[in-house]
Symmetry: C2
Subunit: 316 residues, 2 copies
């Protein structure tokens, strides 16, 4: 049997037929063109599902379940309660998909949680039952899997590890708290930290690199560090310390088999992962245990969300 | 049917026969007299089980399962890997109990986790499936229950929320990190904060209260606050803010139905709980969700661990 995984994003709608080995065998895609009415968007979602099926030479009769990943909050009835960048408020996603595809097992879930499921089952998790995925992007996203199931919490808003305070009364966070992990460990935070260091050191190589790139980015400090720039070395050292602090918090609370770290900054590879592991090793609570949480880089990139959505029948 | 719950403590060994309504129907008790050999201690454990059975007018044939809560780390084979205050190293607790009571379902678990299970099923949780118990004591203990099961993690060291950093590079913690929640929100931390405020303000009522009690305790600042002492008001306000910070971190990560707060400081009742709830309400991530984590006081006191141990057959 096959399952369909759908990624409903702010920019594109992508649906893939996924086989039992978690491989995407065929994909349909269209632009989201948000904001549009939920009816129009769900017509297109059904259309990209049929497109993927056609390409795979399959019909809905070959499909065991359909899963959809969406930004925002999804309640237990498959209703997207709120999704800012789609302009959705209380959209009955599960019912709307069932109207268009027929009655079958249909699951709706937050997209970051879908990505966590994808990595846990089919990516760097390799089937790990206790797994946390962290994404260092504009914010710090996370998805927690315990005993093979995504942790949604009582109000389907669980897994927001980015909004754990690590610096009491620290930097303001978009969520209203001060000192959240996200306010120190996101790409946005790294850029802020880079700019601050550049202001303090007009001779830093970072100025030259930012000028060449046309902006200060998450790469600026890492690239300048590789050229031996002291200010950049300090930025990167501190940034990695911030990321590590939150990772160790997660280790101590949940002791998952694996914490997967994703997002653009992970393209730095071992430059990031190696010192992160060193911090975790030094500070984890269960320092004497033989078995330890492994800190690994995400593997599936953008496919994680689609593959995870296709697995919602088992992971939700 | 009945189950037996055992609390193996540094001071006492207590075993109770617990009925299907989570009521302790009869109890046996003896002093632990640690350090002694595991053989001697497990002989006594079996003896207090038989004492409880005798008092209840039951035999082992009436017992569905036996659960034991112990300090320290317990692995998946029921071996107590390390329990400092018992002097235990790799003690095969499950096998030793089976030798003495006969082959039957026997479960061994960390005592803080047992207490969490007890409160979740039979105490303030009232059957909540997603539940976190926090104990503000010498340290800050915690037990996490997801989908009715205790979260042990990959190395049976899960649930150490007290060792999540809330103040990066802050107060040193016994675990080796700096700025752990425990280093700010434990009774030990409150006493340290109280002493510091007393040093800074020789006219504070706290001096008089500490003298009368013979020591600075977790009550000193709360009692002085009730007498309008400004220094004490500041100590309590800050302490509650520290406790709240960690609670909100847990809410944002896990969105449990209930967080239960226990430990001696909870005897302050609503003086503590009311402002805690106010902080959580203001800072939780899912501020617009209709359903919210409830912050409640622990109900079962010392019985939580025994009742929780009796439930390990379902909660482990």
């Amino acid at each position: 049997m096959y399952n369909i995984g759908i990624d409903l994003g702010g920019t594109n709608i992508v649906a893939s037929v996924v086989d039992e080995n978690y491989r995407m065998v065929a994909t349909g895609k269209t632009a989201t063109n948000a904001p549009r009415s939920p009816e129009e968007i769900f017509d297109d979602i059904a259309a990209v599902c049929r497109e993927a099926l056609d390409k795979a030479g399959l019909t809905l009769g070959d499909i065991a379940s359909v899963g959809l990943g969406t930004p925002g909050t999804v309640n237990e009835y498959g209703v997207i309660e709120f999704a800012n960048n789609l302009g959705f408020n209380n959209v009955p996603a599960r019912d709307m998909l069932a109207e268009r595809l027929g009655e079958m097992p249909i699951f709706i879930e937050n997209d970051a949680n879908c990505a966590a499921i994808g990595e846990a089952y089919a990516g760097c998790g390799n089937g790990a039952k206790n797994f946390v995925a962290v994404t260092l992007g504009t914010g710090v996203g996370s998805g927690i899997i315990v005993d093979g199931k995504i942790v949604n919490g009582v109000n389907c808003a669980g897994g927001e590890c980015g909004h754990m305070v690590i610096v009491l009364d620290g930097e303001p966070c978009t969520c209203g708290r001060k000192g959240c992990w996200e306010a120190y460990a996101s790409a946005t935070a790294l850029i802020r930290q880079t700019k601050k260091a550049m202001e303090a050191d007009p001779s830093s190589v970072m100025h030259e690199l930012a000028k060449a790139e046309g902006k200060v980015s998450g790469r600026t400090a890492f690239d300048a560090m590789r050229r031996g720039d002291i200010a950049a070395i300090n930025v990167v050292d501190n940034y990695i310390k911030y990321v590590a602090c939150g990772l160790i918090n997660i280790v101590n609370a949940l002791q998952p088999e694996i914490i997967c770290v994703g997002g653009g900054i992970c393209n730095e590879g071992e430059t990031l992962m190696k010192p992160l592991r060193r911090f975790v090793q030094a500070e984890r609570y269960s320092i004497h245990s033989k078995i330890q949480t492994r800190i690994v880089k995400a593997e599936l990139g953008n496919d994680a969300g689609i593959i995870g959505a296709s697995l919602l029948a088992v992971a939700k």
